[in-house]
Amino acid sequence: MIDSIINYSSIASLILGILFILIGSIGILRLPDVFSRIHASGMIDTAGTAFIILGMCLQSGISLITAKLIFIGIFIFFTSPITGHVTANLARKKGLKPISNNKGETL
């Protein structure tokens, strides 16, 4: 009984993660400029990986593998905003103008 509940919730969580990654990939292809595309990639980094890691944790139960998966999740959680910020900052420094009414100034 409990086994099948865990199994189904793990499948649901994996499907949710796959859906978020799919929508994020569509966003990366469809959105107009670099700055908007970073938002789509941020979606893959947070919800996509979080749901897939949660699903895999439920599959493996309480074991060493779950501990490793949680560590992977924590490291992605800390490093993904830095890559996003570096990409956006470099694009701004190289003079790329975002599509918006306010073009911004160098701080």
Binding site: I23, R30, M43, H85, N89, P98, N102, K103
Partner: protein, 139 residues
Amino acid sequence: MSGHYSILITSLGIISCALCVYLTIKANILDNEMLPLYFFPRLLQYTLWLIKEILISNIETAKVILFKTEDPELFTIKSSQASNEGKVTYANSITLTPGTVTTQINENVFEVHALTKSFGDDVRSSQMDKMVSWLEKGK
């Protein structure tokens, strides 16, 4: 983490950690950048709140991507944190929630790019700013 706990392997790990610390002290590349321990008492509550925010804005971003309603904007905000660690936490939290990205930081002025006006309003309401300041104060 490999599932092997024999004395040889564990002691090799301890020795290599000690060697790393010794070499960094010897090479003088230790600076005042360290783990902000005073964040810890309130870290769990902040993380739970941040995860809730991330989930909400993920769903919003998915809607924007699917229904093609993007309307990007760029604006500057002021942060109220005193320490560098607090500012980094705030900027990272902004970037971590999909829909908003910090593009430049200078002292306590952040430049933020938002996917739509409503994401921008979320940042401008400075609820997250208050949460990070509260986290920074510790116990």
